[in-house]
Each structure stands twice: as structure tokens, then as C-alpha cells.
């Protein structure tokens, strides 16, 4: 696990040079993805990539700094348990991992690194897991008769999100998946419909769609 964290942080370091940059003094200040811990790397130009070995050393320094501040803590647990809104663990610059060659294009939205994908997947999984929780909890979904979504839709089966939007004959209008989720909350679960931007509704949409990964989109299918 420690190795994974190191790799993630190292890769983030290679390309995520953020914070204050003092160009004249030829040093770079890098912020760890807890958004607090900072260290100064002397002799590194902004935008310049560290060599692999040097980057690992910086990552080790980061982890040592963090552990000093948080004795006895585990990084992943601490990040997951942190109160308040989820930490913006974004990578601010995503220059290509290898030196940009003449044949490759480079831009802010290209050349995702393993660190990027690790972070994105972690964030998505958390969102889907929250949807999973609500989907399986009669009270969380706001039902009043002890009926939860999974009772008719184990693993979100028979929700077919890929067929929305479609004309829902019984509603006499074109419905989105969220309309159908809300219908189920109101009728089988006997609860109050959620607002379109309700975090619970958003999370459930994410969970339902994640269960149908790989299905072809077929809006309008009956």
C-alpha cells in the first residue's frame, strides 16, 4: 500500500507543480495533495520534470513531513475520513509523462497519468458507493413503508438507464432516469420526490449507471 501511495504522489509531483513559484531564485514550491504540506525544491525550474529517482525522494520527504504532522495516521484513511467537502485532489497540470515528442500533441486535457486516473477512480467510486448505500436503504431514500430500491432492483437490475430519455407512456411525457427514480421513491417506496440537484438523487443516478457499464446507449428504447 505504501508503495502505491508513493507512486501516486510521485507521479503527481512530476506534473503537479503548484503553489508559489519564485522564478528568480530558481526553486519550486510543491504542495502535497492534502493541500497543506508544502516543500521547496531548490534548483527546479517551474514546469521542469524531476527525474524518476529524485521524484521518489521528494515523495518520501512529503510522506515523512505528513507523518510528522499526523503521527500514527494512515494517509488513505485520513483522506477518506476528513470532514467537510471532498478534498480537491485534482492534478493542476497534466503535461505528458514522457518528454513531449514531435509526433504527440500536448495540452491541458491530454496525457492523463496513472495518478490522475487513480484519483478520478477513487472519487467516482466514492460517489457510486454513496448511491449504492442510498439505493439499499429504505430510510435514506426517504421511503415510509420500509421498501428500498434494491428490493425490486438487485444490483440495479431492470432499471435500464441506457434507455432514457424516453417517452414514458404512464407519465405521458419524456422522462429522464431521475424522473423514474423519483417516481419509484413516490410510489413503491411512498416517499417524497427528491429535487433534481439533490445529492442523493445524483448519487443514485451514478450507482445505477455504473451497474450498466458497457451497455450501448439506446435512448427511447421500450
Amino acid at each position: 500500500m505504501k508503495r502505491d501511495i508513493l507512486v501516486a504522489c510521485t507521479l503527481a509531483l512530476l506534473f503537479a507543480v503548484a503553489g508559489a513559484i519564485a522564478q528568480q531564485r530558481l526553486e519550486t514550491i510543491v504542495t502535497l495533495c492534502d493541500n497543506e504540506t508544502e516543500i521547496v525544491i531548490a534548483g527546479l525550474k517551474p514546469g521542469q520534470a524531476l527525474e524518476h529517482g529524485a521524484a521518489f525522494q521528494v515523495a518520501d520527504r512529503f510522506m515523512d513531513e505528513w507523518k510528522k504532522k499526523n503521527p500514527g495516521s494512515n494517509w488513505i484513511m485520513a483522506m477518506n475520513m476528513k470532514p467537510g467537502p471532498p478534498i480537491a485532489m485534482q492534478v493542476r497540470r497534466t503535461a505528458a509523462a514522457e518528454p513531449v515528442s514531435a509526433t504527440k500533441q500536448a495540452g491541458v486535457y491530454s496525457g492523463f497519468t496513472a495518478a490522475d486516473e487513480f484519483i478520478w477512480k477513487t472519487e467516482l467510486d466514492k460517489f457510486v458507493a454513496e448511491g449504492n448505500r442510498i439505493f439499499h436503504d429504505a430510510q435514506a431514500v426517504g421511503g415510509t413503508i420500509g421498501v428500498s430500491c434494491d428490493m425490486c432492483h438487485p444490483n440495479a437490475a431492470n432499471t435500464h438507464p441506457e434507455t432514457y430519455p424516453k417517452y414514458q407512456v404512464q407519465m405521458q411525457k419524456v422522462a429522464l432516469l431521475r424522473d423514474m427514480i423519483n417516481w419509484c421513491i413516490q410510489h413503491p417506496a411512498k416517499g417524497k420526490p427528491l429535487a433534481d440537484d439533490d445529492p442523493k438523487l445524483r448519487a443514485m443516478e451514478a450507482y445505477i449507471m455504473a451497474q450498466r457499464a458497457g451497455k450501448a446507449m439506446e435512448p427511447g428504447k421500450h
Binding site: I145, G146, P154
Partner: protein
Amino acid sequence: MPAKHKSVETKWYEAREAVMRTVPHLGRRDFFNVMGASAAAIMAKGLLPPHSFQLVEVAHAQAPKPEKFTFAYVSDTHLYSPKLNDQFIRAAMRAVEDVNRLDPQPDFVLFGGDLAQLGAKEELDIGRQILKDLKAPLRMMVGEHDWYLDMGDQWRDYFGKETYSFDHKGVHFVVLMSVMEKDFWTARGLTPEQRMKTVAGLDNSTQSAFEVGAPQRQWMSDDLAKVDKKTPVVVFSHSPLYKYYRNWNFWTDDADEVQAILKKFDNVTVIHGHTHQVLSNRIGNINFHGLLSTAWPWPYAPEGLPKLTVAMDRSNPFSPLDGCGDGRIDMNADGLADMIYNLWERNPMTVPASYLKSLGKTNLPSATMLKTY
């Protein structure tokens, strides 16, 4: 109720009664004419008549030698406390009324398990009360929703042993407790309520697979040792005694061992609850039939559906009782069972034994209109 506001149901019963009143006055030839005409009308509507349509009962009367009989079923009622949710209670009561209206009455009624939703005494109480209204004798089977709060204590107190056998008109019946799970709760420190909720979640992968278990298999071998191989055997199990879909426990882990115990018999039928859907299968010498739930239908699993299953039509979420129902089982003279699914919101569906025994070559059940997604 004022006479001018008769419901469709009332009108139907009045029309039926009127026909029935005239039946005793018909001569033999007239009777066959009437029945033939009704059968033709049904065929013209494109409905497959349930197998025990009166013509069949007449055949029974003329040839009394083989023991034909029927029994009915109600299954998977998933009752809640009446204070929390009465819709499943009303559905269970409807099933009891259905069965009580069967004419002739079934020899007995099988309850297919999952009487309660979370095994609570209050839930079992209301269930027991509702089932008391059945006119025909009741044969109980236990399901995982009845069991995992107190490991079956309350259920046994009300309904007796969970594993037993009996003989009826030449058929040997075996009732199993097929939803044993390996202990996943002690190591996790779960309370009885948490254990029950875990098992109640169909897609909850914390639980272990259902099994009949070695002690019960031994009991079954001993019980069947005394039974002649020509005797038809019918096994009631809550979970399907084969491997359909592990993730939802549409599955019995030691199904192969149980099937092996049944191998010596010429005709075996397994009737199971738990799957809440029309489900048919044949493995070796065994026909398998799933039961409908009165509470809600389960979707077909994403894989593993037996090829012989003619799926029931996709259920309409806007109609709370669609895909639910009860049904009847007609035991043929050869000891195999025809399954009649009494789907509440649509035409009945018959899955004859001959369809399964011919591996789908004859007597196909009616096809679905809309495929599942």
C-alpha cells in the same frame, strides 16, 4: 352496494354462476358441446387454457385408477408489521382468497417460504393469521427471511419442523430447509438484526451461499431409502435446487449432491420459491418449477437463466401487483406436475410437465410479448 354499480369481478362471478347452475341439467353430449365451445372461445382469444380445464377433470372421473390431484401455492409474501406497510399484507390476503375460491378445492396448499420480511414475530404473527383463513390444509416451508433473526425459533414455534416428508395419493413429498448459510456473522460481530438484514439483501455479497447441508442431506437419503424408485417424488425447497445465479442466491451450493440423492427415481419434481418469477428447468430426471411471489417480482438474473424457461412478460412498475400472483399445481397420473401460474394482472400461464420432459419439444408455454432488457 347499489346493484347498478357492479364491479367487473362481480359481473364475472354472476355470469360464471349462471353457467354453473345450468351444468347439472346438461346431458353428457350437451355438456361436451358447451365445454368444447368454451375451449374454442379461449383458443380464439389466444389464451392457453390452464391444464385442469374441466375437460381434464372429466377424464379424471372416467379413469379413477391413477391418482390425479391438485394442490395450490402461496409464496414469498414478505410481510411487514401492519403499522409500517400493509400493501404486502393485502396481497397475501388476496392470494388466500384466490386459493379459497378454487373449485374443486386443492388437496392442500403449499406455502413456499419468506412469510415475513425480516423474521420478526409481529410479521410471522400476521402471516399465520392470514394463512389460517385457508380452507384447505396448509403445508409450510421456511425461507431465509423467516429464519435469520432468531435462526428459525419463532417460525418453528408456530409451524413445527422445517424439514419433513409426507405421502399423499401415491406421491412422496419432501420439504427441505435449503437456505442454510455458513456463519458470516460471528466474525463480523453482527447483531441478529444486522444478520437478518444482510441475508434479506438479495445482492448483499457479505452473506454466504445457500445450502441444504450435510445433516439434512443425510436425513433426506435415509427418508428416501424407504421409497420405491417408481414412486413419484416432489421436493419443496425455498431456493432452486440448482445453480442459476450465485450473486442473488438463486442458487443452492450443494445442489449437485441433492440431485444425486434424487437420481434413482423415475419422476422427480422440485418446486421452489425465492426467485419470484416464472422459472422452469429440467436437469436429468428432475423437473424444476419456480413459484410467484405475492409481494414483488424479481427481474431475471443477468446470466444463468435455464434455457427451458419461457420468461414471463416484463412487469409493469406502474402496476404494483403485476408479475405477482399465486398458482396451482396439477399432479398428473404419471406423478409429474403441471405448473399453473396465476398472474394477477395478466393471462394465466401453464408450464406442463410434458414440456419439460420433452426438453421443450412439445406443449410450449405462451411466449412473452416484451423481452426483458
